[in-house]
């Protein structure tokens, strides 16, 4: 991963002339963020739903931009574009997973919103009573959100250290801790509405920056995209295979099957993260949620196409060998590209590096705050308040405490792990989201016989399988990129635990449901009515 090489102090793609402006830009953004934070703190939301869901008042356009923003994380920006720059076609296919994740959400969004549920606990409780489904949902939420938080904070610390020209261990940890503290404050104070503004600002800035960097790269090839693509192929590490499948590192023997599993997990996992579920509920209605996703789809399609262009531009301008010299996974490729598209010493070069730094900061602040906030909402709503006699101020206080605790735990773990590969954490997060959430939602929305036993069996089974298979996978031991490269307990041959866990969870959900004698025919018809119309059955009659 990034750390080993980035931390070796050999990297300074920004250069001394841009260092001071980048640091000033960081200070300005932090200042503006704090100002925004104090403004939000002054506008006190008086009910939990106003804080969690912005009173279900976000317009389709606004929420569409915010949904697109949720998908534009620092990992998507740097890992995907680096993957495209280094591995060509294989990287492009992974970038497409971001887009198709939205397709899954597009199909489920209206039902999710109409259900009136906004946490996983609510969704799980739709077909199962008691506190056990809510506790299981909180476990799943934490298993998805905490690894995301750690991975993104770590990447943020490293990127910030590179951008300010001090990629040493101490500076990386310091940047991680400072950014983590800011995020904890934001998650505790901002609420969904405040964070949505950050996403809405981030999306156009990111798209324009990627477009500008790509255009400047094309300009170096006399405005001929064909020449840029040719240069990317010729300067890549393997010109013959750059635009063919197979360059992305695969596990031996079963690599093709593993790849299919990884794509399925990425599509489902990126779609069903808890913060997206929360955001869907913030729309005004089910149709507004669906429309927001249509808008987000257009924006993310544009983002993916620009990411592909920027990835190829990085390969063409820098060359595969130069990208690899800095980082084995190519995560610094975009920063390198931004500092190379214009000549040294020019004002334009400094400006573009500063803008890239702003994009990095905004991407980190908004996406990590979202993940932290969703996890805190789950703790406050599903564990602290559910089934107990809590007042609304108590629930909101619990949310703020949970957000701060999660922020502190996340930044501590990110600082502790900053010298280690964290691919296993990203893998765990996506696999849990795909394996534990997707089957339950499909059964809850579409299968009449699904019941409490089926739900608990599938969620606990899926969670356990994901954890065990991740520990036994090549991301934890036995490979060069593993957490313990010298240990060999990688008995599970695939990188993606979802290949087994996803079908197993479906099976366990079915098995638990058919072996229970509960009859949920009536419940399902009521649920189905509500999912379709957003209305409570019988209320229409009562009105008339």
């Amino acid at each position: 991963m990034t750390v080993d090489i980035l931390s070796s102090a050999v990297l300074d793609p920004v250069g001394p002339d841009a260092r001071r402006p980048v640091i000033i830009a960081f200070m300005i953004i932090i200042g503006l963020s704090l100002l925004w934070l104090f403004t939000l703190a002054a506008v006190e939301e008086n009910t939990p739903e106003k804080l969690y869901l912005a009173n279900r008042s976000l317009s389709p356009l606004f929420n569409g931009f915010a949904m697109a923003g949720e998908q534009i994380s620092v990992v998507a920006l740097f890992t995907l574009s680096g993957g495209i720059a280094l591995f060509g076609y294989d990287g492009v296919i992974y970038a497409m997973d971001c887009l198709f994740g939205l397709a899954v959400l597009l199909l489920l969004a209206q039902k999710m919103h109409n259900s009136g549920c906004y946490t996983l606990g609510d969704l799980f409780s739709m077909r199962a009573s008691g506190t056990a489904p809510r506790i299981a949902a909180t476990m799943v939420t934490l298993a998805v959100s905490m690894p995301l938080l750690i991975v993104q904070l770590r990447a943020a610390g490293i990127s910030a250290a590179v951008l300010i020209g001090r990629p040493t261990d101490g500076v990386e940890v310091l940047c991680t801790v400072l950014i983590g503290c800011l995020i904890a404050c934001f998650a505790a104070v901002a609420g969904l509405r405040g964070n949505s503004f950050l996403h809405v600002v981030k999306v156009p800035i990111t798209v324009v920056t990627l477009a500008a960097v790509s255009l400047l790269a094309v300009r170096r090839f006399d405005w001929d995209p064909g020449s840029l693509l040719s240069a990317a192929v010729e300067k890549s590490v393997k010109p013959d295979g750059y635009l063919k499948p197979g360059l992305w590192p695969r596990v031996p023997h079963l690599g093709a099957v593993d790849l299919v599993g990884a794509h399925v997990v990425a599509v489902l996992g990126l779609a069903l993260v808890p913060h997206m579920i929360l955001r869907i509920s913030a729309s005004q209605s089910g149709q507004a949620a669906r429309r927001s996703l249509s808008i987000a789809s257009g924006l993310i399609a544009l983002f993916v196409l620009l990411l592909i262009t920027a990835g190829f531009a990085a390969a063409a301008v820098l060359g595969g060998a130069n990208i690899l010299a800095v980082d084995a996974s190519g995560e610094a490729a975009q920063i390198q590209l931004a500092s190379s598209v214009l000549s040294d010493g020019s004002q334009g070069r400094v400006a573009i590096i500063v803008v890239v730094a702003c994009v990095v900061f905004l991407a980190v602040l908004s996406t990590v705050t979202s993940a932290t906030f969703a996890a805190a909402v789950s703790c406050a709503h599903d564990v602290f308040a559910s089934g107990k006699d809590r007042t609304e101020p108590e629930e909101m206080r619990a949310l703020r405490v949970a957000a701060v605790v999660m922020g502190v735990v996340g930044l501590s773990a990110a600082a502790a792990l900053h010298r280690y590969p964290t691919q296993f954490l990203a893998s765990l997060s996506l696999n849990v989201a795909a394996s534990c959430i997707f089957p339950v939602l499909i059964y809850s929305f579409f299968w009449r016989r699904f019941n409490r036993r089926g739900l608990l069996l599938s969620v606990h089974g899926g969670l356990s399988l994901c954890a065990i298979l991740t520990i036994l996978s090549p991301t934890v031991s036995g490979t060069r990129m593993a957490l313990f490269p010298d240990a060999h307990f990688n008995w599970y041959p695939f990188v993606s635990p979802g290949l087994v866990a996803l079908p197993a969870t479906f099976f366990l959900g079915w098995l638990g449901s058919v072996t229970s004698r509960d009859d949920h025919e009536l419940d399902f018809r009521l649920v189905e009515y509500r999912l379709l119309t957003g209305k409570e059955p019988g209320r229409e009659s009562a009105r008339t």
């Binding site: 009910t47 739903e49 009173n55 279900r56 076609y89 294989d90 492009v92 296919i93 497409m96 198709f100 397709a103 199909l107 209206q110 919103h113 109409n114 009136g116 609510d122 409780s125 739709m126 077909r127 199962a128 009573s129 064909g226 693509l229 040719s230 192929v233 295979g241 635009l243 063919k244 499948p245 197979g246 099957v257 790849l259 299919v260 209605s285 089910g286 149709q287 669906r290 429309r291 249509s294 789809s297 257009g298 399609a301 196409l305 559910s386 009536l522 419940d523 018809r525 009521l526 189905e528 009515y529 379709l532 119309t533 957003g534 209305k535 019988g538 229409e540 009659s541 009562a542 008339t544």
Partner: protein
């Protein structure tokens, strides 16, 4: 709604307005069919090319076939998928909006705050 759904929901107070309720059930049923038809078309239009792309990339070298210069079949396929995705998303949105708008009701947060779980389902008390 489900074909054998009675005009009034069991467990809820019976109402004399059976004709109105039956019409409502029929309306919801037809809405469900139209919505699912739009979603099915969107799913097929995107899942099939995506799955074909992934399977061909994983098991064969077909995506690496050159079409023009360095441009390969796989790259053209990816760009086409992006375009198809955005196009079908909008078509699906238009079709769904046409069928769903009259029946749907926005949820207000004030309704949610009075919710209490009953029999595993959150009901909104008014």
């Amino acid at each position: 709604m489900h074909p054998h759904l009675p005009p009034t929901f069991p467990g809820l107070p019976p109402t004399p307005r059976h004709t109105r309720d039956a019409a409502q059930v029929q309306h919801v049923d037809s809405f469900r069919k139209r919505l699912h038809s739009a979603q099915r078309a969107f799913l097929v239009a995107n899942a099939v090319p995506y799955s074909v792309g992934i399977l061909l990339s994983s098991f064969t070298d077909i995506p690496g076939v050159r079409i023009s210069g360095h441009v390969t079949l796989g790259m053209v396929w990816v760009v086409a998928q992006c375009v198809v995705f955005v196009g079908t998303a909008w078509v699906c949105e238009i079709r769904s909006a046409r069928s769903s708008d009259p029946t749907e009701e926005p949820l207000a947060a004030t309704e949610v705050s009075g919710a209490a779980p009953v029999g595993g389902l959150r009901w909104w008390t008014r």
